[in-house]
Each structure stands twice: as C-alpha cells, then as structure tokens.
Symmetry: C2
Subunit: 356 residues, 2 copies
DNA sequence: CCCACTTAGTAACGCGCGTTACCAGCGCTG
DNA sequence: CAGCGCTGGTAACGCGCGTTACTAAGTGGG
C-alpha cells in the first residue's frame, strides 16, 4: 500500500495521458472491466478482488478519465451553458455564483459565455449569437440566459435547440420558463417595515425609466400602505435617475417641499444607489438617520449597503437563489419533468441593518 | 432502455445531431472531403465546385461540429481553466471578464471553476482540489489561478500537470509565473497627483493588516514624496481596518489631531471603502471635498468611487488587463514560447474624478 | 451425467471527427 | 507507349470511452 499513490507528485512525470487501457494492462484485466468498475455498474459482476486491483492501478498510474471521450461515447456532456451580459457588465454576479454552486452540487459543469444584449450598439454586437453557437458546439444540454437587471429580452432563436431557462429576465414573445425576483413582494416588505417602525408619512424615491423593477416595487409599496388603511400620496413620490445623483436630487426635492413638521419621516428608495444620494441630502440638512428620517433601500448592493454609515437597511435581490433555481429548473426540464410554473417569482428578503 | 427521450417541451426540433456523415451523403462526397473543407486544409485538393456543394449541404442541414469529438481526435481542446475564489466571493470579477474576453479573441474557451482558498475553514473545504481535478478531466490545456486580493497563495499540486499562471497573487514557494498589480506605482501616481494639485501636507489612511497592497502603496507614496524633496510624516499616517468604519475612524483621528491651519489638506486613502468613511468624517466637520480637503482613493470600486459625492478620484486596479494578460501568458506558455518575466507588474492608472 | 443457471469476465462495435495513406484518372513528356 | 506528376478525391485507422453481446468456468439439482 505504501506506494506513490498520490497522483500529485508522480503525475508531473506522466505527461502522456494514461488511458483505461493502461489501467487494464497494469491490473491484468480487460478494458471493459475497468470501465465497469469505474462507472460503478450495478449489474456487472466483478469480484471484489479484481475490483480493488483495478482501483489500485488507477491510483498508481494516476489515471484520470477523459471527460470528452466519455461524453462522446455516452452521448451526454453534463454541461449547461449560461450566456449572460453579467460577464461583460458584472452587477448581478451572484446569479453566476448561485448557478455555479448548484451545478457543482449536481455534478455538472457550467460553461459561461458572454452576451451583449445590454448594449444596443456595442462593439461586441453579434457576440451573443456566436457565443450560443459555441455552446451548442460543446453540446451543452441546456441553456441559462441571465440579465443584469430585470427586464424583457429577445432570446436568439438558436437557443431553441435545447431546453432554456431565463434568469432575471423574461421572454417578450415566447414561452420560455423564467425566474425573476418578486419585486412587488419586496416593495411590500420594505414599506411594511417602515410602517412597523411607526412611520406613516413615507416618501418614495422612484426609478425614472419604466422598468419592471420600478413598477413592481411601487405596486408593492401601495399594497402595504393599503393594508394599513393608508394611501400613497402622489406628492410624496419623486422620480429620478437610478444613480446617487438622482437620489440626491429627488431627496432634496422631497425634503425641501415641506416644513419640518410635515416632512416625511421615512424614505423608501427604489434602489441602493439612490439611497446613497439620499443619505447625503439628509445629512446635509443636519438631519440624522434613522433618528429624523429612516431610509430603506432596494437591491442590497453590498458595497453600498454594508458600507454606508449608518449601514443601509434594504431589500435584497435574491440573485444567488435565482441562479440556483435556474439550474434546478433546467435539470428538471432536461430530465423531462414538468416545470413548476412558467414564471417563478423568487422572494426578496428584507435585510435589517441600521437605517430604520 | 430507450435513449431517445425527447427533452423539454418544444425544445426538440433537431435533437438528432447531424454529423459529418450526413453532410457528406447529402453532398454526395466522402466524409473526408467534408472534413477537409471544414477545416480549411491548405494542401487538400478539393475542386471549387464540390467545395461549395459541401458548404451548401452544411447550411441546409444545419450541421454543427461536435467540439468534443473534434477534441478527442485532434488531441486539443482549446480550453483553459480558471480556478478562483472570485466565483465564491465576487470582488475582482473583472479578472474573469478580462480573461474571458481575451480567450474569446483567441478562439478558446474558458472553464470557470470555484475555489475556496479565501476561507481557511469554510464549508467548501476541498472544493478547490476537486475543481482542479474536474478541469483536468476536461483536459484543459492550461490553468489560471486568480485571487480576489493581491496576496501569496499555495497552489494545489495537481495544478502542476499543466501550464499555470497566477493572477493577482503569487506563488509563495514555487516558480509559477504571476501577474500582479503594480501597487507601488499606483501609490506613487496617487501622491504625485496630490502634489501636482499643490498639496504638501498629505495624510495617509493606511490599511491595517500587512498585505502586499498596503506595503506597496505606502512605499509608492514615499517615493513620490521623496521625488518632490518631501518626507512622509509618520504622524500623518493612520491605520485602520479596510472598511468604511475604519476609514471614518482613521480620518477622525487625523483631522482632529491638528488645529485647522496645520491640518492635512489632502488624504490618500489606501482603498475606496476607507475613502468612503473619510468622506463622512470630512463632511461631518463641515469641510468640503475637494475645497478644504482633497481625497484620493485606491481600487476603483465602481459602486463606491463613481457614486460618492463628489465622485472619488482614485487609482484603479487593472483587473481586466490582468485577466487578459493571464490568458496571453498562458497562450505563450502552452505554445512553448518563453515567458516575458516571472512576475509581471501591471500598471494601476489614475482615474480622475472630482475629489482632488 | 446432463442441463440450467450463476459468476466473472472479455471481444467488438460505435460515438464524431482528424489524419494518413492510398488510388484513379488525366495530361504531358521522352 | 511507358512513365511521371498532378488533380481530386476516398478508405481506413485511431482518439478514449460506454455498452451490448457473448463466453468460459464453476454450481447445484434432478
């Protein structure tokens, strides 16, 4: 037993790939036997003795199966492809992380390819089609398509050749299953938190372009207020660009519009960057957070939310979970199982920090 | 067991892969001819006519080469593997982006696998070795190993079986080529910028743990001062944790230590998160940026630097370039070319915004 | 003693493709 | 007319492996 069984130190010697044949010869059996043992076949009858002899040979030679050859013979690759602009514009990286982790658990590989949908006339136009083509050449068994922000997309037709699941986006005209955040639920939970803290005059800093995130979050806010017998005062809803500057401007407008006593005591910012700007507007006026004004954000952008002072209470986008769920859904699809729903909503949990 | 289980719902248009044989039959030639045409062999003699007939057949049948089979036959996969904790703790995502882009240019595929080196006793212990093993099973032709922050690492031995390049880290005991940011140059450029703006009393907010980033950046700052005939006043160097809170505390200490006239007029924060905290300390004291105090950061964390108010002038870590350079170096290595240098330093460019 | 059945394995084919060796026909030269 | 080189291909092998069909040696029962 005390041989150089560790593949690490002996391996550098053996550049020439060692194959099953080598293992078979070394163990004095046929290649078939080796294959049977390595793939743990149920109904193969191999004596315990030769079985260990084969396993020993594997270790001694540092044999490593050739995934490509295996795929060719077995007609399955165990690969999923994920094509996403996240590669080109990292923002929702955690989608990849979630997908990767789940794929790893399922003993599958994730092939990550870039997309260009985000830029209408970027330099990489056409990159996406090429990327999908490449993925298909690798014979991926399923495709994940992920966007950096929740929106409708046009999925290239070539994606139809293989089961496909959308993450953080939805198919404008097709019938592809998709996984998106529950924006509305998130908006509701945010406002509920403010209500629970005793706030009734709540200002909303709204996102300017009409995107699913803005619409959903605002609707959720309305729901929460309605449930408390309140109504969203249109005067307290101010829109701005989805940046810190936009948030600053919007917050200024909303804060300066009223005398102190009528001023909203809480601000629901539809994303963290705007909350960042709102912080400045509030502090600039000598007001404290959350003492004078409570602030709640959305997105949970770690670098902002966790590092603002005070740390920002916010609603998290469940990127990781969405990625994982994407892989799970794909696994179900490729296994021929029925899908749970055409569009799966993933909850956006509240992250308590110190701004409420 | 029937193997023709139709996957998905509507996905299976053309599940039955069309092979070269099909193309050959359809074009009335031999499979060899098809292979020759598709691989654009120089010395193959195929008439122009049959050449187009074959190409037509390819289009009509929607033939797509099987990358796996091709790899098996040609003994090359065109794959590189990148194993990195960036997957588990996204921070330097742009390394992946840079590598991916470059790989794409080189018509190569990047297989991304997770690492766990960052957490000493994390839940995924051993994940890294398994990941590398998987990559080798896929017969990657080279390995990239990337870290989230500049540091020494212990590279698993199995990585020795294939050319390996380190990105944003270096091999503690071995001789692997590595690509790291020029921290010192970055520190120099930052302080030079401050000097150029007329500041001579410069405070430094230093990173607490002794890591290459801190050491290098500080050394660079000293160099710049020395070149201007100045010296770094130890009293003006304050250390803190690499967080916004740490930056806030450090800035408070440095600002409150002196009467206004002796106060430093500029702060070099060794990272952007600390700069974020410093902003708060400065604003809290009724001082303006850059009017009363100029601030310069390091790292260029977009979400912070571009969204602080005023936007933060900072030194960027060249993650993308490092990723690209990693792939290029790997390409040279696998091609048998000599490496430029054992350790390649990549410049950290100054990003002018509005805080100086 | 023969037959059926189990155990322990092996030979051989094919996955889709790259590649090498070969071949048939044709025009041209000596 | 033999011989040669050139054009335009083709047959066949092997890459490393999964898988099916088959065999040879024991085992037990009637």
């Amino acid at each position: 037993m005390a041989k150089s069984t560790t593949p690490g130190n002996t391996a550098a010697v053996r550049q020439r790939g060692v194959t099953m044949k080598d293992v078979a010869d070394h163990a004095g059996v046929s290649r078939t036997a080796v294959s049977f043992v390595l793939s743990n076949r149920e109904n193969a009858s191999i004596s315990e003795e030769t079985r260990t002899r084969i396993n020993d040979a594997v270790l001694e030679l540092g044999y490593r199966p050739n995934a490509g050859a295996r795929a060719l013979a077995s007609q399955r690759t165990d690969w999923y492809g994920i094509v996403t602009e996240i590669v080109t514009a990292p923002f929702a990286v955690d989608i990849i992380k979630g997908a990767q982790d789940q794929a790893w658990l399922d003993r599958r590989f994730l092939l990550i390819a870039p997309s260009d949908q985000a830029d209408a006339v970027g330099p990489n136009q056409g990159l996406e089609d090429a990327a999908i083509e490449k993925l298909l050449e690798q014979r991926v068994e399923g495709l994940l398509y992920a966007a950096t922000f929740h929106r409708g997309v046009r999925v290239p037709v070539s994606a139809n050749e293989v089961p496909t699941v959308l993450i953080n986006c939805f198919d404008a005209d097709g019938k592809l299953p998709s996984i998106v955040p529950d924006e509305r639920g998130g908006g509701r939970v945010a406002v509920e938190r403010l209500l629970q803290a005793g706030h009734t005059r709540i200002g909303v800093i709204n996102l300017d372009p009409v995107i699913p995130a803005a619409v959903g979050r605002l609707a959720g806010a309305r729901e929460a207020l309605a449930a408390a017998g309140l109504e969203l005062n249109p005067e307290l809803v101010v829109s701005g660009y989805a940046t810190a500057d936009g948030g600053y401007d919007a917050a200024c407008r909303i804060l300066d519009r009223y005398p102190p006593k009528d001023r909203p005591t809480a601000l629901f910012c539809l994303n963290d960057r705007m909350a960042m700007g709102a912080y400045d507007a509030i502090k600039e006026r000598g007001l404290t957070i959350p003492g004078d004004i409570a602030v709640i954000g959305f997105d949970n952008q770690e670098l902002i939310a966790a590092y603002l002072r005070p740390k920002l209470t916010t609603v998290a986008l469940p990127f990781e979970k969405m990625g994982a769920l994407g892989v799970q859904t794909l696994a179900a699809l490729t296994a021929g199982q029925p899908i749970i729903a055409d569009q799966q909503l993933v909850g956006c949990p509240l992250l308590e920090r110190s701004s409420v």
